[in-house]
């Protein structure tokens, strides 16, 4: 089956007074229909920028300098603004990190949902209202009819995120991009929101790109994972194989850095060094300066993807060495 969303060689630059920042240096991945794909990496690795590039909601100083974003046979980067507006919310929706500021404080939840319905469904007054109440019930908000006339500040953080999810579902999108949807929430609420997202994704067979820095969430939630490092894909594939047998030294480092119940009292493992700055021109592998297994070729040549198995790819020169296996 063809993937619903394919990203090919996406490159994004930000122009700043100090020069161009290379936020994304060429990434490729695709989202299969009905999958949840985790996009993981450290702060600044380009995961949120990738999400916003798909929605074409980058800041004004940002520009996609190369690549294609194929959705349902169209290259989203080639669409007119009007065509793109019909995609947003309607075919591809987005959930943001901070529900408290992502909901408009001066409009009721009901009004905000009805705005989305009016924009894409053109529902009549009564129809929109009934639909909105149904949505609020579906995301597990108590007393949905009454929720219609409630303002965002009257809700808890978890309820706000549920309302935000209802909003994103309103026009029945095919794809949802969830940009750290649980980061701003308490841990117990996080679990509830994750459960809700998984249930809705299953029931409505939505494909999801789940942007997070939390490998625990990836393990619980996603089928596929793409590990980004410095604007490039380090490793990608099925979650269970990557978490069980990480091939890329960066992924291994990330997994080793997770605190484990048994390691109490020991120092946390860290990956030495820092992420390269977006201003730098990177020659060779972006991870080379921090890699324990660095070789001469790593500093000269950017590694191509090696196929570990049909669902697992890793960009590392180590895989090309016959001795490594």
């Amino acid at each position: 089956m063809t993937p619903i969303l394919t990203i090919e060689n996406l490159q994004v630059e930000f122009s700043t007074p100090f020069g161009a920042v290379h936020a994304i240096r060429g990434i490729d991945f695709s989202l299969a229909r009905g999958d949840i794909l985790g996009l993981v990496g450290e702060t600044g690795c380009g995961k949120s920028v990738t999400g916003r590039s798909i929605m074409r909601l980058l800041d004004e100083n940002a520009k996609v300098s190369a690549g294609r974003i194929l959705f349902d046979g169209m290259d989203l980067l080639q669409l007119t603004d009007t065509e793109m507006r019909r995609i947003r919310g309607n075919r591809i929706a987005m959930i943001f990190q901070d529900p408290a500021t992502s909901l408009n404080p001066l409009f009721t939840i009901g009004e905000q949902i009805k705005d989305v319905l009016r924009a894409h469904r053109g529902s009549g007054r009564g129809g929109a209202k009934a639909l909105a109440i149904e949505l609020l019930a579906d995301v597990g908000l108590p007393d949905p009819a009454q929720m219609m006339s409630v303002y965002p500040h009257q809700l808890s953080g978890g309820q706000q995120q549920r309302a935000m999810i209802a909003l994103s579902l309103a026009a029945e999108p095919d794809v949802i991009i969830a940009d750290e949807p649980t980061t701003a929430l308490d841990v117990t609420i996080q679990a509830q929101i994750l459960d809700l997202l998984r249930r809705l994704q299953r029931e409505r067979s939505i494909s999801v790109i789940f942007i997070t820095h939390d490998l625990g969430i990836v393990a619980e939630t996603c089928q596929q994972v793409v590990v980004l490092y410095a604007g490039r894909v380090a490793e990608k594939g099925a979650v269970e194989t990557i978490l069980a047998r990480p091939q890329h030294p960066y992924t291994r480092g990330l997994l080793a850095a997770l605190p484990r119940p048994g390691s109490r009292g020991n120092d946390l493992r860290v990956i030495r060094g820092n992420v390269p700055s977006g201003f730098e021109r990177i020659v060779g592998c972006a991870f080379a300066p921090r890699c324990d297994y660095v070789m001469d070729i790593c500093r000269a040549q950017n590694p191509a993807f090696s196929v570990i198995d049909s669902t697992h790819h890793s960009a590392c020169h180590l895989h090309e060495m016959p001795a490594n296996g």
Partner: protein, 340 residues
């Protein structure tokens, strides 16, 4: 707290503001030099005449007694009598106040109806040609003196184009053939209520030019305030999420962002409304508009204290009411604002 209890509380607090203004203006007017009785007596009065008038007006009594008399008259709704014209101030104000209010309300409406949409678009497309053009308009509106603008407007629309009358509230023909039955003193309202459309359009015709000139300042302010707060609102996360939801630019700008951005403009224009009641005197003079500004200017030149005090009190009340209206509006727009 409900809107009603809020209103009652605010109004009762406003009473103290009113009393403060009353005491201040009353005593200041008695302390500063000048002889009101001589003024009242007219040209070259004899000393005994002045003494007699002093007794008649109660100016011979101690200050606190004069004050009590004034307050008790005020409580009866009597603002007193002009020393200069000897006319009842109540009667004068019933003519001049509606004239000014009609003019100022029209000006404020023009400022808001034109200024806010312009400010929205200027804020939505910063650094565009439109943005720069509106900055120019806004700065000109705020900084060009109203008397100069008034003269230029008369030159263009009366002398050159002949589209609009030079001044006055209504033409002589209209007032003779289609007299307006005075009820509120607002010509447009009175004429419309009695379906006197000839007089209505004549009065409207007279209102346009002075209202436009008077709207220049609040227009400039409305544009700048709206533009600035739109830029702020459009940078908020909820606007990004609205864009991500595929809402149209029209809904995003004029509904979602504007509701968050409109309050500063309303507040400042509201204040300029109260200011214009007396501040409009240059415009009123140039357009022969029989308003409060002209009335109080003459009173100041004639040291006509009862009129000055009366107008000060009226303007105080307008300030209080406008501020109250702005606060209520804010609570109406923003559910997070607690009335209290």
């Amino acid at each position: 707290m409900t809107a009603i209890t809020f209103l009652l509380r605010r109004l009762s607090l406003s009473v103290f503001v009113f009393i403060g203004v009353l005491i201040l203006t009353f005593f200041v007017s008695r302390v500063i030099p000048g002889n009101p009785a001589a003024l009242y007596a007219g040209a070259r009065p004899r000393p005994e005449q002045v003494e007699a008038i002093k007794v008649k007006l109660g100016l011979d009594k101690p200050l606190h007694e004069q004050f009590l008399v004034y307050v008790s008259d005020l409580l009866d709704g009597d603002l007193g009598e002009s020393y200069h014209s000897r006319r009842s101030i109540n009667t004068d104000l019933s003519i001049f106040l509606p004239a000014t209010l009609e003019l100022v309300i029209a000006a404020v409406f023009i400022a808001l109806l034109v200024g806010i949409p312009i400010g929205v678009l200027a804020g939505a497309y910063p650094k565009s040609a439109f943005d720069y053009a509106t900055r120019l308009v806004a700065i000109a509106g705020v900084s060009v003196p109203s008397f100069w603008l008034a003269l230029i407007a008369q030159f263009i629309f009366f002398s050159s184009l002949g589209w609009l009358p030079l001044g006055g509230r209504i033409s002589r023909d209209a007032s003779l053939f289609y007299p307006i039955a005075a009820q509120t003193g607002f010509y447009l309202v009175d004429a419309a209520v009695s379906s006197n459309w000839d007089a209505f359009f004549d009065a409207l015709h007279h209102l346009i030019l002075p209202a436009l000139v008077l709207s220049a300042y609040p227009l400039g302010v409305a544009i700048r305030m709206t533009q600035a707060s739109m830029i702020e609102a459009l940078a908020e996360n909820y606007i990004t999420s609205a864009r991500a939801a595929g809402l149209s630019q029209r809904v995003i700008l004029f509904k979602l962002a504007l509701k968050n951005a409109i309050m500063p403009a309303l507040t400042v224009v509201g204040l300029s409304f109260a200011y214009s009641i007396t501040g409009a005197f240059l415009v009123e003079t140039i357009f022969s508009w029989p308003g409060v500004g002209k009335y109080v200017t003459e009173a100041v030149l004639n040291v006509d204290f009862p009129v000055i005090i009366a107008v000060t009190l009226v303007v105080t009340v307008v300030y209080i009411l406008v501020n109250l209206a702005v606060d209520l509006l804010q609570a109406l727009l923003d559910p997070r604002v607690r009335l209290g």
